[in-house]
């Protein structure tokens, strides 16, 4: 249900590489803010943009993969394990419980996870780029 919590430890080192503290240190010596590199599309600016975009895209794809497995797996489950089609949980049929009710809170939790993570990525990017 919480895709990132499992995936996070594996992903974290990669993300840190993108906005690494060594670059951060280098910009301190340089009085020129990185925002100008972004504006003028220097190679350095492009590297930072590519880092931001790939971090965000990886997060998005992680969430989508979770959704595709969770939702997309359901018809497959019903197809391959016919017993699940008629399974009752507390007198409510399992398929109706999942698709009629449970999907919605899960979708909300996944969305909230995404919003928090992407805001964190942007926050770190802003911090590094504005040199503060």
């Amino acid at each position: 249900m919480t895709p990132g919590r499992d995936a996070d430890p594996a992903e974290r080192p990669q993300r840190v590489r993108v906005t690494s503290s060594r670059r951060h240190a280098a910009t301190r010596r340089d009085p020129r803010p990185l925002t100008r590199d972004l504006d003028e599309q220097t190679d350095l600016g492009e590297v930072y943009m590519a880092g931001l975009m790939s971090a965000q895209l990886r997060l998005a794809l992680r969430v989508l993969a979770f959704g595709a497995l969770g939702l997309g797996g359901l018809p497959l489950l019903f197809l391959l394990v016919p017993a699940t089609r008629t399974l009752d949980i507390a007198r409510i049929p399992f398929p109706w419980l999942v698709l009629g009710v449970l999907v919605y809170p899960v979708a909300l939790l996944v969305s909230r996870y995404y919003v928090r993570q992407s805001e964190r990525i942007e926050g770190e990017f802003s911090q590094v780029v504005s040199g503060s």
């Binding site: 943009m49 975009m53 197809l79 809170p105 909300l108 919003v115």
Partner: protein, 514 residues
């Protein structure tokens, strides 16, 4: 059913809508100032407005009708409508807001720096908008027919007149507050009778749904022949894809994102939308299930799409049932009016700005004012789907809406996703993707709507085209782009900076090509 109650509720909703439209001129001046300058619309109000516009006839009546007729597999429709916003959130919510685009053609032009792609997008917006307006008008016809016995063209005409009067007068335009109230009105109108009916059902000892088992298909079980079609597994997956990827490409969705102050707020608003839609969609299936309990065979002249309106009087004879039914009829008309208004504004705006303005000026010299042009466009935007609603036999409200989603998913989904994330997208590639995905999906839709459902694999592939048209559209856009690297827009890098960097950074955000 008691005609007086239902009719009163419908007239009340129409009059309130018109009154708001009439006063809207004054109100909208303050509201639009509010939203361009102050932009202090909170995520919850903005999200309610999105929900108010998004929950259409298909949601209010269609889902219950589908669940009633075809059972479990139809639950994928509300799930898809909701999860579509999750996909929109993770792939395009913030970039769309940051692009500064007000409409889909605006985005196409800003990202691809091409008037041709803009024009192509405009044509597609109009096509998808018309396809989506069709079931709103059909739904209104069905609802009014059930309540008053009037022929179905009357109900459609009521919606056309109210919406055209409103939109042409300039009301409903930027009134976030009104659309926001629509959401809560619809939620109340479906939830309160829903709880009452559930209570009665529990009091009756919760009898099980009665299902006439036809040809060994099991109503309550998954994969039981998706709407009576062959190949239910394919149909299930294709429908999921269409709904989940189509939401981002609907004409009236993007406009509301503009009301967010920045990309971050756009994400938070979308998050709230997911919550509000999830809350609403708990209820429609309840009507479908209880319909099976209390109305195992439909009364004469009642379509499955009207089950929501027919159910209360079947469960609760007497005034109580009639009052609940009237509340539902009012809510249903609120759904037709709000969705149709949002769509009409979007479609009319595009017709006016991109397709009509130049031509009108040429015909009339400089006589036609901007406002007149918009009014002509509004009438056009509604006249075509109204004529279509007279000609095309209703194939189920949610099914028609599903087709609109399929076209949107096969055209704007590749454009928005590749446009936001891939620097290699070329002007030619984007145009090829739009043309290819659009003509394949629209062709399949046209065959299904005119020819009726076909047998076997061809029927399944044409009735649910998304599973093959979306991959083809993506593949064409990517391959053609790779073959035409010289046609990558010149300012792509600058546009990417604008789409993806947080607004708090002090960067040059002027569109690169103007």
């Amino acid at each position: 059913m008691n005609t007086a109650f239902g009719l009163t509720a419908i007239i009340l909703v129409c009059v309130v809508t018109l009154a708001v439209g009439a006063f809207g001129l004054r109100l909208s001046r303050t509201t639009s100032d509010f939203y361009v300058a102050g932009r202090t619309v909170t995520p919850i109000r903005n999200a309610s407005a999105i929900g108010g516009e998004y929950l259409s006839a298909a949601s209010f009546l269609g889902i219950a009708g589908l669940v009633y007729t075809s059972g479990f597999d139809m639950l994928w429709f509300p799930v898809g409508y909701t999860v579509g916003y999750v996909v929109l959130l993770v792939l395009v919510a913030a970039p769309l807001r940051r692009s500064g685009a007000y409409t889909l053609p605006d985005f196409a032009e800003a990202r691809l720096e091409s008037q041709r792609v803009r024009l192509l997008s405009s044509v597609l917006v109009v096509a998808i908008g018309w396809l989506y307006l069709l079931p709103q008008l059909q739904g209104a016809g069905i609802a009014l027919q059930l309540i008053t016995g009037a022929p179905s063209w009357v109900g459609s005409l009521v919606v056309v007149v109210v919406v055209v009067a409103n939109v042409a007068a300039g009301g409903m335009r930027s009134i976030t507050l009104v659309q926001a109230m629509q959401y809560w009105l619809k939620l109340t109108a479906i939830a309160v009778p829903g709880f009452v009916l559930l209570a009665v059902w529990l009091g009756d000892g919760s009898p099980a749904p009665e299902v006439a088992t036809t040809s060994g298909s099991h109503w309550a079980e998954p994969l039981s022949g998706f709407g009576g079609q062959d190949h239910p597994v394919y149909a299930t997956y294709s429908t999921i894809l269409a709904l989940v990827l189509g939401t981002m490409g609907l004409p009236h969705v993007l406009v509301r994102f503009y009301t967010n102050p920045d990309g971050r707020a756009a994400r938070r608003t979308t998050l709230t939308v997911v919550a509000l839609l999830g809350l609403f969609y708990l209820f429609p299936p309840v009507y479908g299930i209880l319909g099976r309990v209390y109305l195992p065979t439909l009364p004469e002249g009642v379509r499955p799409d009207a089950i929501v309106l027919a159910l209360p009087t079947a469960v609760l004879p007497g005034t109580a049932g009639q009052l609940l039914s009237a509340a539902l009829a009012g809510g249903a008309f609120a759904a037709f009016l709000s969705t149709a208004s949002g769509l009409t504004i979007s479609v009319a705006g595009v017709i006016d700005q991109d397709l009509l303005r130049g031509r009108l000026r040429r015909i009339t010299g400089e006589d036609a004012t901007v406002v007149q042009g918009f009014r002509v466009a509004t009438v056009l935007a509604m006249a075509v789907p109204y004529a279509a609603a007279r000609v095309v036999e209703p194939i189920g409200l949610a099914t028609t809406v599903g087709l609109a989603f399929a076209v949107a998913a096969s055209t704007f989904c590749p454009l928005l996703v590749l446009g936001s994330w891939w620097r290699g997208l070329s002007t030619v590639g984007a145009a090829a993707g739009l043309v290819c995905g659009g003509s394949l999906a629209a062709g399949a839709v046209a065959i299904t709507m005119v020819g009726g459902p076909l047998e076997g694999w061809p029927g399944a592939l044409l009735a649910q085209p998304a599973a093959w048209t979306i991959p083809i559209a993506f593949a064409v856009a990517i391959l053609v782009s790779l073959a035409t690297p010289r046609r990558i827009p010149r300012h792509t890098s600058r546009t990417m900076v604008r789409l993806h960097t947080p607004e708090e950074l002090d960067l040059d955000r002027a569109p690169g090509h103007r």
